[in-house]
Symmetry: C2
Subunit: 266 residues, 2 copies
């Protein structure tokens, strides 16, 4: 048993889909969350820049002596997971990418998996590598959807423009005979309904936030590090900019009271 | 006569609309341009963060000993022009915001001016302040259009989704009886056609990039600092991330050869 917090970071609000999934799977765990809202988005940026930001984000979480770190950002999981591992000593690190890839491999029946994500994630080919490391016979078809993050951040969730953008991005991948689609960016579950309607029925959607929560429970259970606290905890929330905006979006997205959010410098 | 360059900075590619206008008005001037592509966009961020970034951006341009600095970013013009002025010694600083505001005041006939910009620019109320400092009887109606920057950056220039987003943002301001609309973000001229079609005929569009070029020519002329070089110069281009992507966008947007772009650290 270990009462230290689980550290989670993302470039912005997207990682809250992971917080929600962790709270649902592990309601007694303490969470410390950092969103790098001063430098969001990471997706359209270079590997060098993303690796620098990943080291900064890990250092901020390490001040809170977490028992493990969850990289809730697919872009960092794809391009800088080794940076996080090197920056946090011996504690375990789980990236959303590997968790989502593993879950997709378990689910596919026809061995054709689609992946949507940011430009950086898709260009890195990291999902295809992770999936093919588990099963080299699986065909992976990827598509970058750069406007999904700003549309989600601006709350254009059921807007007709979002539907048109989804149609633009998903038209080709829909014709590829996939039976599984990985939401390879933690913002995308916010647009899940539009994505599901556009991709069509009969395709299983994989939310990597849910996959990472299952993986986290397994890891903490196997290493005897589950918290035995009896009460549900309020996450400790940190951002690098605009704590008030983050607090409002948290309230909207999590359906909770408006929480305290601390500002930290990067 | 002064052969030193004109320094121009923006959060990303938006300031190229200013470069284009300066080249057109002052073809013999040397330009050094910095785009902070590692931290774009500035518009959804806080005043404290924007002021820190403005000081960094100015310091980068100062290495090239410019004869003046143009703040091509409306968000910085609105929230941190004094930071730029303090960081650059005695050389003149022109912000797109004041130039655009001055031009709009000259143009309006019914004293009702619309302004569209990023969330930070609109929340700062800086356009209304600048316009009312020139003429307190003018009514200013503002509207934030946060998705216009990512749509422009992703090249969704004539896309039906952009038309719908424009309809969403401009519906209310269209009913306000304005005769002049300021494009209060240097990205917006990239979407000018959609904006014009949506706002309707009979409304004069003010591109602050053009306004700032006129103001720059006037300033250099009056202070005897115009360059007398005979040949058109290739701008010296600097970015904080992804020089290759910037070079391609430059080529597309400026209709030129693909230029060299240098990477600098912020």
């Amino acid at each position: 048993m270990n009462k230290s917090p689980i550290g989670i970071f993302d470039s912005g609000i997207g990682g809250l889909t992971v917080v929600k999934a962790i709270q649902s799977a592990l309601p007694c765990e303490q969470i410390v969350y950092f969103g790098d809202t001063a430098r969001v988005p990471y997706g359209p940026k270079s590997q060098i820049t993303i690796r620098k930001y990943a080291a900064d984000d890990t250092a901020i979480l390490m001040r809170y002596q977490p028992k493990m770190i969850i990289v809730a950002c697919n872009t960092v999981s794809a391009l800088a997971l080794d940076v996080v591992e090197k920056s946090c000593g011996n504690i375990p690190v789980i990236g959303v990418l590997k968790a989502g890839a593993t879950f997709a491999v378990q689910v596919t029946k026809n061995n054709r998996i689609g992946v949507i994500g940011t430009q950086a994630t898709v260009s890195s080919n990291a999902y295809a590598c992770a999936i093919n490391a588990l099963d080299p016979d699986i065909e992976v078809i990827s598509q970058a959807c750069p406007l999904f993050v700003p549309l989600a951040e601006e709350g254009f969730i059921n807007h007709a423009a979002t539907k048109l953008v989804a149609e633009h991005y998903l038209r080709e991948i829909r014709e590829q005979g996939i039976d599984t689609l990985v939401l390879g960016c933690t913002h995308y579950p916010i647009l899940r309904q539009v994505i599901e309607e556009t991709i069509g029925s009969g395709i299983r959607i994989i939310d990597s936030a849910e996959a990472v929560a299952l993986k986290t429970r397994e890891l903490l259970h196997d290493s005897g590090q589950l918290s035995r606290s009896q009460k549900a905890s309020v996450p400790h929330l940190l951002v690098s900019d605009l704590p008030q905006k983050f607090s409002m979006l948290y309230q909207l997205f999590m359906g909770s009271e408006q929480p305290d959010v601390d500002l930290v410098e990067v």
